[in-house]
Symmetry: C2
């Protein structure tokens, strides 16, 4: 068993905070953020000491109608530059690309022509070969790369070991542990993180964590895995993200001891931009229906539908989930 790195009083210089508000939060509002919102979040993240800001997805324009989504589903170079210029800040910029749902050979410029620094490749475990092909292509273009293996709480441990071994042999920089269904408890999450870390450290790679708040554990799991050496930490303003949402950035910044992280700028952003978003009816966050899917280790799609229909017959919903097991 790997031991804890550092303690609750120390700065861990290897930590990188990744703001995924636009990317995961975009799943709650169809990526329809105003330019003012994104610009102010960009400035806020810089002031808060955030290390990476994820602008959204690089989704295929052949698979998805550009008119049906906000622009951050596609993250055109020009749209990012309209916000960040040449991004002269120390904060890096990332985008996510889903295996099978992007045209990576067409839609990525060589790194020296792009303001994007890191590409996060998201895949299911059966898509590992395709993910690695993408990672290698993007690495060769000059980008930092992550691989987020989704839904690992439903994978066998043999399968996961093989996937990690494949990533260890690849050019990927960061391997992400993703608690897609918010089903992990801190004890599971840290056990899994130690598996990821053992493989990654040998191969000179870093490990990241992306939590979901179905059981109110996104923040707890994040700080638990970080204590064992996970260094890339995803968070979003007020936990905005699909379904139960993610680790709240304000909780994470309040926890981290490095004085470069600053809570106050984020609070002003939340007050001015996040509260109106909630008031306008954009929905996310912990509630019983998400707790059920987390406890049952299932995709939140039924719970999201329950939320959108503004239902409150939790018992009926719970019974229907057990019927569909």
């Amino acid at each position: 068993m790997t031991s804890r790195k550092g303690n609750l009083m120390m700065v861990r210089d290897d930590i990188k905070v990744v703001d995924a508000t636009i990317r995961d939060g975009g799943l709650c509002n169809n990526f329809e953020f105003t330019d003012e919102f994104v610009t102010e979040l960009y400035k806020t993240n810089i002031k808060s000491g955030v290390d990476y800001m994820e602008f959204g997805y690089k989704a295929s324009k052949e698979l998805f109608d550009v008119k049906a989504y906000g622009k951050w589903k596609f993250c055109d170079e020009g749209d990012i530059r309209a916000i960040v210029g040449d991004n002269i800040s120390d904060m890096k910029i990332s985008v996510m690309a889903d295996v099978g749902r992007c045209d990576f050979r067409k839609d990525f410029l060589p790194k020296e022509e792009s303001v994007i620094d890191m590409v996060r490749v998201a895949c299911y475990i059966n898509q590992m070969p395709a993910a690695i092909e993408m990672v290698e292509y993007l690495h060769d273009l000059g980008y930092e790369t992550c691989c987020n293996i989704m839904a690992v709480s439903q994978s066998g441990s043999d399968q996961l070991e093989e996937a990690l071994a494949m990533l260890a042999d690849s050019s990927v920089d960061v391997i992400y542990l993703v608690d897609s269904y918010g089903s992990l408890y801190p004890e599971n999450a840290s056990d899994m993180a130690m598996k990821y870390l053992a493989v990654a450290e040998k191969a000179g790679k870093k490990v990241g964590f992306h939590g979901h708040n179905n059981q109110n554990l996104a923040f707890a799991n994040t700080i638990e895995v970080l204590s064992y050496g996970v260094s890339y930490l995803d968070a979003t303003a007020q936990g905005m993200g699909r379904g139960a949402g993610n680790c709240a950035m304000e909780l994470l910044l309040g926890f981290l001891k490095n004085p470069k992280y600053n809570l106050y700028s984020l609070l002003t952003f939340i007050e001015k931009y996040m509260l109106p978003l909630k008031k306008a009816g954009v929905m996310w966050g912990y509630d019983l229906q998400y707790m059920f899917t987390g406890q049952l280790n299932r995709h939140p799609r039924e719970a999201i539908a329950f939320t959108e229909e503004k239902r409150s017959d939790y018992c009926e919903f719970y019974k229907s989930m057990l019927d569909n097991f």
Copy 2:
């Protein structure tokens, strides 16, 4: 370092779940629950496998005007019996009594005349001698006893060691670790729990945990300390409790592996009784103002006032908290 007891797949027969909805939740609505609410919660707790149900406080009628509060601030024997009769169930009944705010010599019957099984004595660390006097008196009357030392996150570790040693020498059955300000992280909470456990186990006593959700960690801290051997676990329906509230019973019941614990009965109670309570304007639960007091390790009183005034100027509030540090 004590190691974890059991694992995530096992039943731990030493676990006792304590429902504190009426007691801690009563701080949100002045203890004004309807008899129907309390009766249905009692029945629900029995069906859910809950081990103890706490009915409220035994507060002094000399210090507090009985007309100004609901009856569960005083927990008269007759009022409890009106709900539970002779309590022929396996579930035990507890009440809380605050050092210095109760008339314990006057207000407790001998155990054989009372339907109450356990008395939880709450005190600040400087009140240990008075707490132990109460514990001994109530123990001699025939009750199981707990001691909840409050606000330990602000106590020196020497002071805490002395308090634990005093309790080890007393007749108390259960020593409670209480995260009064919701300031503990799972790593702190488990370090402290191990201190409590080391002392308690030697003296043949049990350890309990009562969390607060200021940093969304009440459930996470509860399952973390239980993994090290804490066995009495406080929770409330939907986390109802002062300020940010407590560990949610539905999260805890969903986590525990003992088949005696049953989530479904609680869900029907939540749907029928808790949702209307929230709708009627009773306020509790995680929000930024409570996160601040948790992060700053402070009493939530200013955050509760902020909530009651329905303010949303979080930044101003945060600055005022820093000014008053």
